[in-house]
């Protein structure tokens, strides 16, 4: 009997005239597309279109094309849906995928435009005048209490002033990605870059490898439902602790790192035996209600000498009320992960159909916290597909204090968004633990690329601020007056607190 109806998605074409039969493609492909019999022979069905072979082919003779196999037209039964039914009827399994939601939902950022100064107020030249991006993440008092310093000046009153905050040189953080889901070299690249940039990387839920200890001034350690690698030492190493309640790619869903990815290093870092599956439960089993979250937040603070504790949640329908509760529970920041956020592995049905866009979430959370007079009590970090400095500027204008980037950081390191992280075969050495693949990513090279990316986005943000006539990012933060919508419906505009262009 025929085992599968499913035809390859891509076609690998090799220009035989150009091919020098060096076998580099065979060696580079993580998915075993190529076999070699006098010349490379591709198996199209294994190809993920990750372009590793294309990039490294010295003869530039490889092309990956879409398999243009025609299906009878149906707007309702797309080829992808037909293939999914076939695949599930073959296996009885849940469709697994990676990276973020790729469905054609409206990308609200692309329907928002920024303002600029003309005549009545001047734009500012960011290249020659100060243009400040420094950002503090964490709880701040509602006002500053001072006392006389006895010499005619003032100083902070005892116990007044800002609480322990995370200082960022630019309002960009690297989002949580665990060691295990990504390679140690990825973690090293992120940590080195964060250290050089004066920002933070985030361990994700897989613990902190000892190689990262020199960079812990720029590391946020995560505490998730699986509690991998979490001990008092870990909690004290970072600049802050993040409780991961949910992530945008799979709200309400736990995680599962297969035993074959738990090698010795991962095992040591996560503090679990080699070869066993690392299972993250869907909920924290010590948080079944909001008061439990408060208990965990303060437990982490107690254990860490009162470091800032943030809470990462996936953006879901009631996100404003949830975020308000999170802030009232004592969180120093609330990390909002929109439904286009990435992941190493998620059920496709969840990734593509659960959650709400980050733009909406920022708007409603920022407004709710202001309405309740608690906006100063916590920072808002926005994530879930921040794709450019424009997205960042718009997120900040909607009310975010900073953005976190995960997918963009991986793309900087070579990720081609082939959505196959869950296979553990990443040819770019990013989402794999296979030593022959992980060594492809040199941490020094990776750190430089990440540093360049964040510098470039920061420059661009400065250009935007200059055009807006402000010279500090806090004057853009929450300034929705500087945004206009083009082609968004009235209720979306109202929710965003943004006027349509022309008004």
């Amino acid at each position: 009997m025929l085992t599968s109806f499913i035809q390859p998605e891509f076609k690998v074409e090799i220009d035989r005239d150009k091919c020098i039969k060096c076998g580099r493609c065979v060696q580079q492909c993580g998915w075993g597309v190529y076999s070699f019999a006098e010349r490379p022979i591709p198996d199209d069905s294994k190809c993920r279109a990750c372009h590793r072979c294309v990039t490294y082919c010295p003869a530039h003779c490889i092309t990956i094309k879409r398999n243009e196999l025609v299906f009878r037209d149906s707007e309702n039964w797309s080829p992808a849906l037909r293939k999914a039914v076939w695949r599930q009827s073959e296996s009885g399994g849940v469709m697994l995928t990676s990276m973020g939601n790729d469905k054609p939902y409206q990308r609200i950022f692309d329907y928002l435009v920024l303002d600029a100064c003309q005549v009545t107020n001047p734009s500012i030249d960011p290249l020659r005048e100060p243009m400040e991006l420094k950002t503090f993440i964490g709880r701040k008092p509602d006002s500053v209490e001072v006392e006389s310093d006895g010499e005619g000046g003032y100083r902070l009153a005892p116990g007044a002033g800002m609480e322990n905050n995370i200082e960022l040189a630019t309002p960009i953080m690297f989002g949580g990605m665990s060691y295990g889901s990504v390679s140690l070299n990825v973690h090293k690249s992120l940590a080195m870059a964060a250290s050089r940039l004066g920002i933070t990387m985030n361990t994700g839920e897989g613990g902190l490898h000892a190689d990262l200890y020199p960079y812990t001034d720029n590391v946020i350690v995560q505490c998730a439902s699986g509690r991998f690698g979490v001990d008092a030492d870990y909690l004290n190493r970072g600049v802050a602790i993040e409780i991961k309640v949910g992530q945008g790619a799979k709200p309400g869903i736990g995680g599962h790192l297969p035993g074959e990815k738990i090698n010795k290093e991962v095992s040591t870092t996560r503090m679990i035996p080699q070869g066993t599956d690392a299972i993250s439960p869907a909920p924290h089993h010590d948080i079944y209600s909001i008061e439990d979250l408060r208990q965990l937040i303060y437990s982490l603070k107690e254990a860490s000498g009162y470091k800032p504790v943030g809470v990462k949640i996936a953006c879901v329908h009631n996100v404003a009320a949830i975020a308000s509760g999170v802030v009232r529970a004592g969180a120093d920041y609330v990390y909002l992960d929109g439904f286009k956020g990435g992941t190493g592995a998620a059920p496709q049905i969840i990734r593509d159909h659960v959650g709400i866009p980050i733009e909406i979430a920022i708007a409603v959370v920022d407004q709710r916290l202001r309405d309740e007079g608690i906006r100063n009590q916590a920072s808002i970090i926005a994530a879930g597909s921040i794709r450019s400095s424009a997205d960042m500027a718009k997120a900040i204008a909607l009310g975010a204090d900073a953005v976190a980037i995960g997918s963009a950081a991986l793309i900087a390191l070579g990720c081609h968004v082939c959505q196959s992280c869950h296979t553990g075969c990443c040819s770019w050495g990013i989402t794999t633990q296979k030593p022959e693949l992980t060594r492809r990513l040199d941490p020094e090279w990776g750190a430089e690329r990440l540093t360049n990316l964040v510098h470039a986005w920061s420059h661009e943000l400065q250009e935007i601020l200059g055009a807006l006539g402000v010279n500090a990012v806090e004057s853009l933060r929450g300034s929705r007056e500087r945004l206009r919508a083009i082609g968004l419906d009235a209720s979306t505009c109202e929710i965003l607190g943004v006027k349509p262009a022309g008004m």
């Binding site: 009545t120 107020n121 001047p122 400040e132 006002s143 500053v144 006539g469 300034s479």
Partner: protein
């Protein structure tokens, strides 16, 4: 023929109003009162900084016969608005005098609203019941009138002070209100150049709340977040002007958060991070907290502001000096203006004329008057006005502990 729509000031400006301007502030620190025509003269030479669509003044010490009453200067679109507002006054206040504002016809001044003034005191029992300070009680009524009574607008509401403003050049408006007949120890004046024109009198400056009056030149590019920040504290930014936002910010920082003036100025025009990095640890901690906490209050973009109040005035520039401001002193008189010519017009042979530094306040303080601002001032010698001239008397004033 349709009757013109009655303006709902609460909805007057759903959008930001743009504009440029000229300004002046004059204060005699000895407390000697002088005629409002001095302020008119200073504004008249800055004629071209406005476009005739808004001019105004505020004077302090002008109602010595009612020093402890809240003086409400009202603008009404029609009699119905007046009736509604007066009903509210009767509900909240003992009205000791209600009268039309004295005015004279002036060529070019048209479409004036009904202008009335009231001298009010909160009903003690009602005040007690409200559990508010008298000031917050008054603010509550001001917000109530401006946001709920269509066609009524509170031009000013402080004690022993008043705002006189309208659509026209300031020299016309001053003449219209017979300002030469008023004497005050402090005057601020404003010339407006709005680039979109609601064309109504309430939109002219100064903007006031309680004793505070603000005149302002420049456009604050951070208006969006400044106004959202204020809304958190119950302020309603109904006018859409930077001046309104600046006034509320001063009220929030000085009166409600009790920040010393010097620090409130640092919150509104904060030092740069690289300047903070060079400070000693104690000062750096203070400034870092101030910036982090009051980031949404930072007035970003070009501005020169004069804040008047009973007891003196403060002038402040944005932190990278994008709008003009000149200061001068002669004896006990301190004067600030957008242009030196405005100062020269009213003060012959000043003891000193100087350009204030970006983000550093210029302060005038009236001798013997309560300083309504929490804490005292700490300024570098060159910022203390007396240091410029070496006038002993004013040194005393400035350094009162």
């Amino acid at each position: 023929m349709t009757t013109p729509m009655r303006p709902a000031y609460s909805q007057e400006s759903p959008f930001k109003i743009h504009g440029g301007c000229g300004l002046v502030g004059i204060c005699d620190e000895s407390g000697t009162r002088f005629s409002g025509s001095v302020a008119i003269e200073a504004m008249a030479v800055q004629h071209d900084r406005g476009n005739g669509l808004g001019g105004g003044f505020a004077g302090y010490g002008i109602y010595p016969e009612f020093p402890d009453h809240f003086a409400f200067h009202m603008m009404y679109h029609d009699l119905q608005a007046k009736e509604e507002a007066e009903k509210l006054f009767d509900e909240y206040f003992q009205v000791d005098l209600a009268e039309p504002m004295p005015t004279r016809p002036v060529k070019g001044i048209t479409d004036a609203p009904l202008l009335w003034r009231y001298f009010l005191q909160p009903y003690p029992a009602k005040l007690e019941l409200s559990e508010l300070t008298p000031e917050d009680y008054v603010v509550h009524v001001v917000m109530l009138i401006n946001s709920t009574i269509d066609g009524a607008f509170v031009a000013s509401s402080g004690k022993n002070m008043g705002a006189f403003k309208g659509v026209g050049y300031p020299e016309q408006i001053g003449h219209y209100f017979l300002l030469e007949e008023y004497e005050g120890h402090t005057w601020v004046g404003h010339n407006r150049f709005p680039t979109n024109t609601p064309g109504w009198w309430g939109g002219a400056h100064p903007f006031t709340l309680l004793d505070w009056s603000i005149v302002h030149n420049g456009e604050i590019s951070s208006y969006g977040i400044n106004s959202r920040y204020l809304e958190q504290f119950g302020y309603k930014c109904t006018l859409g002007t930077d001046t309104e936002v600046a006034a509320y910010l001063f009220d929030l920082l000085l009166r409600r958060h009790k920040l010393p003036l010097a620090l409130a100025c640092k919150a509104l025009a904060s030092p740069l991070w690289e300047e903070i990095d060079r400070m000693g640890p104690e000062e750096a901690a203070l400034m870092t907290s101030l910036r982090a906490v009051y980031g949404p209050a930072l007035l970003n973009g070009p501005f020169a502001i004069v804040l008047g109040f009973n007891g003196g005035m403060v002038a402040l520039n944005d932190r990278i000096k994008l709008r003009p401001l000149v200061a001068a002193r002669k004896g006990s008189v301190l004067c600030v203006a957008s242009e030196e010519s405005a100062i020269r017009q009213i003060i012959s042979a000043p003891d000193a004329v100087w350009a204030p530094k970006a983000g550093e306040p210029v302060i005038a303080r009236i001798k013997g008057m309560d300083w309504p601002i929490h804490g005292d001032l700490h300024l570098a010698p060159s910022e203390i006005s007396c240091a410029v001239t070496g006038v002993e008397a004013s040194c005393e004033i400035v350094e009162v502990a």
